[in-house]
C-alpha cells in the first residue's frame, strides 16, 4: 500500500510536468520558477535542519565503541573503532561516510536445525554485504552523475567533467557512449527497491516515505536515460537554460521537449523534498554523537551545559540515619 502511494505520487508529478509544459505552456514555471523555488527550499531547509541539530547540546559523551580502547601502553588499541582523540574520531567518520564502514559489518541470521543445540535449532550467521554494496554503488554513482551534470552548469566546462566522462564511458558501447554509472545507478536503486519488497522485515517497516525517494530517483534516472539514448533533446538549449538560471538571467528557450521538463521537475522535487525527509541523513551523519566523538571520557571531562544539581543522600544524613548500626558494627563516625 505504502509503495503504491509513493508510486502514484511520482507518476502524478511526472504527469503534472508533462501536462504543464505540453498543454498549458507553463515552460517558465517549470523551467525557472520551480527550480529557483526548489533550490531555495533546499538551502533554507537544510540550513534550518543543521542549525537545529547543532543548537541542541550533546550532554554526554556516548560514543559507541567498536574496538579496544586505548588503555595500557602495551595493549594494542583500535583507534578507528575506538578513537581516543579528535583526529581518530574524524578518521572514523570519514570511513563511515566514504566507505559505509558500519554497514559493511552487516550479517544475516537464520534459525537452522541443529541436533547438538538445545531445542534442536541454532542461530546461523551468513555474510550479507549486498546492502552495503548496493548502497555504496548507488551513492557513488549518484555523486558521479551529479558531477557529470556540471557540463551544463559551467562555461568553460570544469576540468573534472571530461575526466569523469572518459572514465565513466571507458567501455565504449554504442553511440553516444554509454555511461556505466547510469546503468549501475538504476541497478542499485532497483536493488534497494526490490529489497524493500522482497525482504519481509524491511517491507514491514517501510513507509511511503521510504518508497517515494526510490521511485523518484528511478524516474529521474529513467527520464535522463531516455533523453540521452532514445528521445534526444536539444542539449545546447538545455545548457542555455541552465546557464541562464545560474547567472540569474533566466531565459527559457523554446522547443527543448517535455521529457526534459519532466526530468528537471523530478529533480526539483527531490531537491525540495530533501530537507524534510530522511534524506537529511547526509547532513545528520556528521553530527551523530555515537560516531563523531572520541572515546576518551575518562581522560578528558566532557561538559554538559545543562547539568543541574540533584537531590543526593549526603554522607551526613546517611550517617545520621544509620548511626546506631555503625556504632554497633564498630565503624567510625564522622560526627564523634
Amino acid at each position: 500500500m505504502n509503495a503504491l502511494y509513493a508510486l502514484f505520487a511520482v507518476v502524478a508529478l511526472m504527469l503534472l510536468a508533462f501536462l504543464g509544459v505540453s498543454t498549458a505552456d507553463l515552460n517558465v514555471l517549470f523551467g525557472a520558477i520551480v527550480p529557483y523555488a526548489a533550490v531555495s527550499v533546499f538551502l533554507i531547509g537544510v540550513s534550518y535542519r543543521v542549525l537545529k541539530w547543532a543548537t541542541v547540546p550533546v550532554p554526554f559523551r556516548i560514543t559507541t565503541v567498536c574496538g579496544q580502547e586505548k588503555s595500557l601502553p602495551w595493549i594494542k588499541s583500535s583507534p578507528l573503532e575506538s578513537p581516543h582523540n579528535g583526529v581518530y574520531a574524524a578518521l572514523r567518520m570519514a570511513l563511515e561516510v566514504l566507505a559505509f564502514r558500519s554497514l559493511f559489518r552487516n550479517t544475516r541470521i537464520s534459525l537452522a536445525p541443529d541436533e547438538k543445540s538445545i531445542g534442536g535449532k541454532r542461530i546461523v550467521y551468513s555474510s550479507n554485504f549486498f546492502l552495503w554494496l548496493g548502497a555504496l554503488a548507488f551513492h557513488y554513482c549518484f555523486l558521479i552523475i551529479l558531477l557529470r551534470h556540471f557540463r551544463f552548469f559551467t562555461e568553460p566546462v570544469v576540468f573534472f567533467v571530461p575526466l569523469l566522462q572518459d572514465l565513466d564511458g571507458f567501455f565504449q558501447v554504442g553511440v553516444p557512449g554509454v555511461y556505466m554509472t547510469g546503468l549501475i545507478f538504476v541497478a542499485a536503486v532497483g536493488y534497494l527497491l526490490l529489497r524493500r519488497f522482497s525482504n519481509p522485515q524491511v517491507r514491514y517497516i517501510s513507509l511511503a516515505a521510504d518508497y517515494f525517494p526510490l521511485f523518484l530517483l528511478l524516474g529521474i534516472a529513467g527520464s535522463g536515460i531516455l533523453m540521452r539514448y532514445f528521445f534526444k533533446v536539444d542539449v545546447v538549449k538545455v545548457k542555455e537554460l541552465m546557464m541562464g538560471l545560474i547567472g540569474f538571467h533566466p531565459v527559457v528557450p523554446d522547443g527543448i521537449g517535455s521529457l526534459f521538463y519532466i526530468h528537471l521537475f523530478l529533480v526539483c522535487v527531490l531537491v525540495a523534498y530533501f530537507p524534510f525527509s530522511k534524506l537529511v541523513h547526509m547532513a545528520g551523519i556528521f553530527l551523530s554523537p555515537t560516531r563523531n566523538m572520541a572515546n576518551d571520557n575518562r581522560a578528558h571531562r566532557h561538559i554538559n551545559p545543562w547539568n543541574y544539581p540533584v537531590d543526593v543522600h549526603t554522607y551526613e544524613d546517611w550517617e545520621e540515619e544509620f548511626k546506631d548500626k555503625l556504632i554497633a558494627a564498630g565503624l567510625p563516625l564522622d560526627k564523634g
Partner: protein, 541 residues
Amino acid sequence: MSSEELDIKPEELLDFDYDPPQKDWMDPSVAFRKGTYCYSAAPKNLEYLGLPNPRDWQPHDKDWKLPPDWKETILDGMKDRLSKFRSFQLFMDICVRCGACADKCHFFIGSGDPKNMPVLRAELMRSVYRNDFTAAGKILGKLAGGRELTEEVLKEWFYYFYQCTECRRCSVFCPYGIDTAEITMMARELLNLVGCNINWALEPVANCQRTGNHLGIQPHTFKDSLEFFQDEIEDITGIKVNLPINKKGADVLFVVPSGDYFADPGTFTLMGYLMLFHEIGLDYTWSTYASEGGNFGLFNSHELIKRLNAKIYLEAKRLGVKWILGGECGHMWRVVNQYMDTMNGPADFLEEPVSPITGTKFENAKSTKMVHICEFTADLMQHNKLKLDPSRNDSLRVTFHDSCNPSRAMGILEEPRYVLRNVCKHFYEMPENTIREQTYCCAGGAGLGTDENMEMRMRGGLPRGNAVRHVQMKHDVNRLACICAIDRATLIPLVDYWAPGVEVTGVHELVGNALVMKGEKERELSMRGDPLNEMEDDEDV
C-alpha cells in the same frame, strides 16, 4: 522461578519464524502475556524517590490509573528532551529504515516479534514524533508515518521499551550509529513522568538512595558479609586477609556492585579481590556509604543516574583517598566511563591514578580518576608482580562473555582476556559474531533480570546460549567467565536453559584460585570450596 521452572520447553520456545504478521505495525496492540513483561514499581519506591504518580497498578490491568493530563506531560517531556539531547533529536530524524539493525537484537532473534527489531522499537516513538513534531506528520498524519499518542500506544511503549536491555548492539551496525538504547532511555524517562516504572529497575534505586546500595544492605550487615568472606578465605588459604572499611587516608577507594557481596558466584569474585589486595599490600578501603558501584538509575532516568552516582566522589573526598578502583561490573562502567565525570565531576580533589605497586600511570583515567580492576590486575601481571599457578584452574575450560557495556560503552576487551590467559590454561573464544563489540546481551540487563520476565529472558538469551553451547560441544567448555555482576546473576538461568552444565564465573574468582599467596597453606580447595583438581570432573562421565 529459575529457568528450569519455566514451563516452556526450548523446542516450544523456538517454534516461531521471523515472518512479520499481516497486520500493519502502526495499529497499536499489546498482549501482556505472563513471562514476557516486568511488574510495576511499588508505590513506596516512587514515594521515597519523589517520583510522580505512585499507585497500585499492574501492566496487565485494563486501567493504568494515568494522571488526567498524561498525554500532555509526555509530549511536553518529549519536547524538552528533544531540545536537550542531540542524540534524541537526530535519531528521530535520520533513520532511513534500511533494516541493517533489524536482526541484530537478541530479543528479535529469540522472539521473531517484529517490534523487537531495533528500528521498529524506535519507530514506536518516532511515529509519535512525526505526528506531533514534524510539519509533514501534522499535515499528512498516517501517510507520513505519524501516529497519535493514545493509551494503547503508551502501553506498547511500556511493553517494548522494557523489552530492550539498552545493550547498544544495534548501534554497532547502524550506518549512522543510531543507538536504540538512547531512544529507550528517553522512552523510559517519559514513562517515568506518568508513573509507569518497573519494580526491578526502580526498587534498587530507592534502596541505593537510602542505604548506599541496590540491595538495601545496611552498614553492619555489609561489614558482617565481608568478614564472612574473610573467614572463608582463611579456611581456604590459611591467611587472614586485611579488611579495611571506611578507612580515612587510604590510597584507594574500592567500589564494587553490591551483587558481589550478596550472592554466589559474585562472592567468589569478591574473595578474589580481597586476596589480591592483601597479597600486593594495597592501601585501600571499602565504603559502607558508597557501597554500590552499579547504578540502576541508568535504567530509569539521567537524573537518577546522577543522584546515585554522586556518592562515589563524595565518599572519595570524605575519606581523602587518592583515586578510585572499580570492580567487575557492566553497567557500572557505562556510568563511570560515559556519565560520572560529566555529571558529578570534576574530581579535582583526587590524584591521577598511579599503581602503587608497578608505578604505572593510568593515563586513560586521568580525569575521572577511576580505574577498572582488570586494567589494574593486567598491569600487575604484565609487571610480574603476582605469583600465579594457573594449573589450579586446570579442571576449568573457560570462555569469556563480553558484557555489553564494558565492550560497547568502554572498549575493555583485551584486559580481561589477558588476565584469564594468565590464570587458566584452557581458554576458548566463542564465535566472532557473538563476542567483543558484537557481543550479545544476557537479556536480563537494564532492569529486566527479574523472574516474572523469564520467558523473555530465555528468548533474548538464545544467541548467547547458542554460542556457549557451541564451545561446550566443541571444546568441552564448562565455565563462562564475565566481568559483570548482572551477568553473574542472569547468565546462570540462561546457561541452565541453553547450555546446561556450564557454570558462570567472575574473572577475579579465577585469579583468586590461581594466586599464590605468601605463607599460604597448601591449597586444596577452590574459591567455591570444591576440591581443587576434581572440580566438576565427574560431570560428563
